[in-house]
Subunit: 289 residues, 2 copies
């Protein structure tokens, strides 16, 4: 704790922070950032979802369905805030091995699983709130994790790419109504790929493959990856994120660049992203709409 | 020719019909259907795109860019109608090896290649019309090739699937504005995949893979493939089509069924599609919105 002593309404000591870890390297990156700014991160690994090494931090492993154990652990440690980060495979309700704490809440839970992803997450958030645990966004804990407005790397944006960014952003916005579309690849007004359940990495790999096999014939660098959250999406629950792997994927797909909704997309390991982008000749930039 | 003799404005002899053959088996299926109903099909194979054996029919092979040769061939044979069918890899303008007939029209052609797919096709259609060749839809030549309203196979549609069909159709409709989205997979209100440049087969393979690798955890049959043309799409130029391979893909993705915009999606080899669907426990049905 790095609390300041004395003096009424002074800055409060940073409270401990739980991090519910989905797949990929993002949770550990957020934990490192939390530690750096003096929050005391406690990582919750989910068996079958978390695949990063969380052992470098205080942590616990849980199974999906161990809802009672989750809340007991948080209470025990006096944790009132949690960040959810990294992709979590959505289970079927029937597959959950419910502990007693989950069984008590089973009617609520079953109800949630009839909703879309966004609905499911909103419902989970309400359950957390009822238990006195506030869900916070990684960008709230560490604002420097969010994409800034403007360039992150050295490569500038060409004029034609700006219209692809605007076009992609408009399309993603219109997909929001259907709780779909956090990413798309647009090349000169043409939609090459739209992201749904497969995620950004798989979408980029698809574009790379379509080009490699000649099914998409494009000369040289072409296309922009546009990432933005769904309109009205609760960023605490599901915030789009990119990292070094995204840059590698964009380079393999021979894109011209990567455009991120400023303040609304997480950039994990910004320095390395910028370096990789520069090396591959990609622009990386936050945009505002 | 099966023309009737004598008698003023009687039914005209069925004129010969050219078929511009894209990839896959659809062009040959349409040619067989054209022959069955007494049109005299002349197939145009495109080097690098056409992959079906077109030698069973009168035919010619052309390279993309051999525009002059194309029109000369059509004129020579007195062909005033052409069907375009099967996926055509969109080339880069700079890759075209233009013959003299193409060079004469190069300014127009270059202009077209700055447009989206739909724009490109509309422009090509205008060029054909100017040459006195009318582009007709396969469904106009042979209406029985289009999806009917209602079931094609034995399997009925469950109530929940109906809302997925309506949801998917609405989403595809809203993507029309972006000249994207001829297909999507929706499972209980959740969008699993949206089709862009990869095509339907690749989209279905993706869903199958996401399920096989456990990234998508769904129990048993789940999801509906919804196919519809873009709003305002000129069906003569680019009509969504499904065939036996689509059924096999849907079966591998463990879907519940396949829903087609009635009258606006081609069904190639309807009998076999229905048999495959029945065998896999899939419904296949045309829907109206």
């Amino acid at each position: 704790m790095n609390g300041l002593s004395g003096g009424a309404p002074g800055p409060a000591a940073a409270p401990p922070l739980a991090i519910l870890c989905g797949a990929g390297a993002f949770p550990v990156a957020v934990a490192a950032e939390a530690r750096r700014i003096g929050r005391d991160p406690f990582l919750i690994g989910v068996v079958g979802s978390t695949d990063a090494p969380i052992e470098a931090f205080a942590h616990v492993w849980l199974r999906l369905g161990e809802v009672g154990k989750l809340f007991a652990t948080l209470k025990e440690r006096g944790i009132g805030e949690i960040v959810m980060i990294g992709a979590m495979t959505r289970p079927e309700f029937a597959d959950l091995r419910l502990d007693w704490g989950a069984v008590k809440r089973a009617a609520d839970l079953a109800q949630l699983f009839r909703r879309g992803d966004n609905g499911l997450l909103l419902g989970l958030a309400a359950i957390f709130e009822r238990e006195g645990v506030r869900i916070v966004g990684a960008h709230e804990v560490a604002p420097e994790l969010a994409a800034p407005s403007g360039l992150l790397g050295a490569r500038p944006i060409a004029q034609g790419d700006r219209s692809d960014i605007a076009f992609g952003a408009r399309m993603l916005d219109s997909l929001s109504e259907f709780d779909a579309g956090q990413g798309a690849v647009v090349a000169a007004g043409r939609v090459l790929a739209i992201e749904a359940a497969e995620g950004t990495d798989a979408m980029l790999a698809r574009v790379a493959e379509l080009r490699a096999t000649g099914r998409l014939r494009l000369k040289g660098p072409a296309g922009v990856l546009v990432k933005a959250p769904k309109r009205g999406q609760d960023l605490r629950l599901d915030m789009p994120a990119i990292g070094p792997r995204t840059m590698e994927g964009a380079a393999k797909a021979q894109l011209k660049g990567v455009a991120l909704a400023a303040g609304r997309v997480l950039v994990i390991d910004r320095e390395r992203c910028a370096r990789l982008a520069d090396a591959a000749g990609l622009f990386v930039s936050g945009f505002t709409t």
